[in-house]
């Protein structure tokens, strides 16, 4: 048990590091951001993606038939570890490249692969994922966006309906869309998957105004959007299986943004307290800090376990499933506690307070979203209970 690379891994890491040092642009905007704002930011994102693609560092583990360098999962992890040590442009490509595009490529012929694989990997075209709907909530299989075959002999389809919570739809070119093709079948058996050009007539993207004031998600409306049958992925009415496969592509959670124990420690060290000289001298704060540290370290080393499995050529086990569940609530509780420690100055949203304050406030206002996005706490617990703990399936899950 150690934290060392294998010889191959060490070599790969050294090559990657050298390449990054020579190639990371100097004009990166200085912050890792969740979103992409403005055309300048998008331009630099595309340019960095293209540079990675040309060097074989975009989509590292894509196979050769997709135009990928056919690297190993651990090489992909190593590259991202090293890349994250630099300030790089934002990355609006990851959802497409990790979820949507692999599905498109897996279910398409070679011609389609050639059409889409490289341009996605190169950052020329951005993909989004259109699964969630306002009426369905966590129940993705309840999708109501209708797709009907035209009767004009073209074999084309017409889409009508609404998707929601679509990240990057406002800058995306294409999307993967799950539609209801059959309203008579049981709900899992009446869905069909397509890819869709977001510049098609009848597509309207509206940003969602989120509770923290920002807009990283969108609503996407489809009104009589015509698509060709060769945009279909998998069989008619067989879309649920395609969707499940897409969801399995979800990559290793490694978002390390947001407030953590070290931020509380740093703030508490400078803050006056009713106990002792600083809030950090307050044993109640110290005991809480210890709890948060153990959670964060637990997640970090759980991630190390996953990477180890990849490094040994294994598929990671269930460990990965707890990441977001733990982190989202921790972020919410920790940032709230930190704000309470600052007293009424904790809610002041101006420059000039403890320097971590805006981080705690951002985390406080984003955490409720993180507890919902990509599977609510409740859905994640169901999934872990059934897939990891192998508890009996919830009889209440309807199939109709």
């Amino acid at each position: 048990m150690d934290f060392e690379d294998s010889e191959d891994e060490a070599n790969y890491r050294a090559v990657v590091r050298t390449w990054l040092e020579a190639n990371v642009p100097n004009d990166a905007n200085g912050k890792h951001r969740r979103g992409v704002e403005g055309s300048e930011s998008l331009r630099s994102a595309r340019s960095w993606q293209a540079r990675k693609a040309s060097a074989g560092y975009a989509c590292i583990h894509w196979p050769r038939e997709w135009g990928g360098p056919a690297g190993t999962p651990i090489q992909s992890v190593i590259f991202h570890q090293e890349e994250s040590k630099f300030v790089t442009p934002p990355n609006p490509f990851h959802i497409g490249l990790n979820m949507s595009v692999p599905t498109v490529l897996a279910f398409s012929d070679q011609k389609t692969r050639e059409r889409f694989g490289f341009s996605a990997m190169n950052g020329d075209e951005i993909w989004c994922q259109l699964f969630s709907e306002p009426s369905g909530g966590s129940d993705l299989a309840a999708a109501r966006t209708r797709v009907r075959k035209t009767q004009d002999g073209t074999g084309d389809w017409i889409i009508n309906g609404q998707k929601v919570w679509t990240s990057f739809a406002h800058i995306a070119d294409f999307g993967l869309i799950l539609c209801r093709s059959n309203t008579d079948a049981p709900k899992h058996n009446g869905l069909t998957m397509f890819w869709v050009d977001l510049r098609s007539q009848g597509v309207e993207v509206r940003p969602i105004h989120e509770m923290n004031g920002s807009s990283t998600f969108n609503e996407v409306f489809f009104t009589d959007v015509r698509i060709s049958d060769n945009q279909r992925l998998g069989p008619v009415d067989g879309g649920w299986k395609v969707a499940v496969q897409t969801l399995m592509n979800e990559r290793l959670q490694s978002d390390s943004s947001g407030a953590d124990w070290i931020d509380v420690l740093k703030m508490a060290r400078r803050l006056p307290s009713i106990y002792g000289k600083s809030a950090l001298q307050n044993p109640a704060v110290r005991q809480q800090l210890a709890q948060w540290y153990i959670q964060s370290e637990g997640l970090k080393h759980t991630r190390n376990r996953v990477i180890t499995a990849l490094s040994r050529g294994h598929t990671p086990g269930p460990e990965n499933s707890i990441m977001k569940l733990v982190r989202a609530s921790q972020m919410q509780d920790l940032s709230h506690a930190a704000i309470e420690i600052m007293g009424r100055f904790g809610v002041v949203d101006e420059a000039g307070g403890p320097e971590e304050r805006s981080l705690f406030q951002d985390s406080l206002m984003w955490a409720p979203g993180l507890r919902i996005a990509g599977g609510t706490d409740e859905i994640l617990r169901n999934i872990i209970a059934e897939r990891v703990l192998r508890l009996p399936r919830d009889a209440s899950h309807d199939k109709s």
Partner: protein, 380 residues
């Protein structure tokens, strides 16, 4: 045993709830939220003044209705339910209570009728840093360094940062260092030498500002050196009343979540039929009920000026802060994606919960105050 509000008080609750449903709808609240310049709902302020709420506990000879604090608790709970965007707490629980507690008859006659009529908004600025306003058994002095304002010959100099409702107040009560004493002063905030700056907070539906004083002439409230002592009692009283606001907010969150869970379908069923949601909302209910019971005891102690007030106020504040925070976050969670949007009302409760739990010192400090008193009580 008579541990409940009276029928009259319950009638007042029903009547004020009906009134606020229209007078303080969420649509009206959003006018304050979405308008950067608006700072409070003037129309609502005017109409509650007309109904006498601002002077509910002010004696009749000072222009009020002369009701008991129990009626005020009823109103606080209702105002908390609708997140009323008005300086009620600052003016009524803090400013008016401080005056009634420590003001001279002249001062009462001068200020209280204007408050009752809705002509004067008040705000109170105690310490300028964290929690030192709550004297502890172990440490019965307020740290001078944290007061921020000095007084000499009733002239004030210095800064009070982040005073809630400080931007819209007409008059302020200010804790200031006067040589080696801490004393209170009443300041006309429109007087010469006062500079005010709006302060943004996580809850844009309530006003907040910084006060800067340069040789501002002020009027003394209470005797020199009595500042901390007076504020301590005022804060105890305000803690009970704010706890009722928090309780109202927490109840409303539970109702919103329950209604949504009954109506919203997923997996072919109302989400409220899933134990994951059911049991989550029961946990919210439990915290709300525990807070309610502690608030009622606080109301009794406030109303009877009981010796247990510091304990009762601390317990009510801690329980209600916890309940409101918990209810507001699980309300968002129950609503799912919808709850995370700006258009949903959920985040307004979440924001207010954060504002209220930090407003008059954080729960941590009130827990300490509580245990100090329990310790003292147990020694006897």
């Amino acid at each position: 045993m008579n541990f409940d509000f009276s029928d009259d008080q319950k009638a007042l609750r029903n009547q004020s709830r009906r009134f606020l449903e229209t007078a303080c709808s969420m649509q009206r609240l959003r006018r304050i939220l979405d308008n950067n310049e608006a700072t409070y709902d003037r129309e609502l302020w005017k109409s509650i003044a007309e109904q006498g709420w601002l002077g509910a506990c002010i004696r009749e000879e000072h222009g009020g209705l002369g009701l008991s604090h129990l009626e005020l608790c009823v109103l606080s709970e209702e105002l908390g339910r609708v997140l009323a965007p008005i300086p009620f707490a600052s003016t009524v629980y803090l400013f008016a209570e401080a005056l009634m507690l420590a003001g001279s008859e002249d001062q009462k006659l001068s200020y209280l009728p204007r408050i009752a009529r809705g002509d004067l908004i008040g705000a109170v600025a105690g310490d300028d840093w964290i929690g030192s306003i709550i004297p502890l058994a172990q440490n019965r002095r307020t740290s001078f360094d944290n007061v921020g304002v000095t007084a000499q010959d009733c002239r004030l100099n210095g800064i009070k940062s982040a005073v809630i409702d400080g931007g819209i107040a007409d008059a302020g009560i200010v804790l200031a260092r006067e040589q080696d004493l801490l004393s209170l002063f009443i300041v006309n905030l429109n007087a010469k030498g006062v500079a005010r700056k709006k302060v943004r907070t996580l809850d844009p539906t309530r006003d907040c500002a910084q006060w800067q004083f340069g040789e501002v002439l002020a009027e003394r409230l209470g005797r020199p050196g009595q500042g901390s002592k007076i504020l301590e009692t005022v804060f105890d009283k305000a803690a009970v009343l704010i706890a009722f606001e928090q309780l109202g907010g927490a109840d409303r969150c539970l109702e919103m979540a329950g209604l949504y869970a009954a109506d919203r379908y997923a997996f072919g069923k109302p989400i409220g039929s899933f134990q994951a949601i059911k049991h989550k909302l029961v946990d919210v209910f439990v915290k709300n009920e525990l807070a309610r019971a502690n608030c009622y005891f606080g109301a009794w102690a406030l109303n009877t000026n009981a010796i247990q007030l510091p304990i009762a106020a601390s317990a009510a504040r801690v329980a209600a802060s916890d309940a409101f925070w918990h209810a507001s976050k699980e309300n968002i969670q129950t609503h799912g994606g919808i709850g995370y949007t700006w258009e949903s009302d959920c985040h307004l409760f979440y924001r207010r919960a954060c504002l209220l739990s930090t407003a008059i010192a954080s729960p941590e400090i009130w827990k300490e105050r509580l245990v100090s008193h329990l310790e003292y009580q147990a020694e006897e």
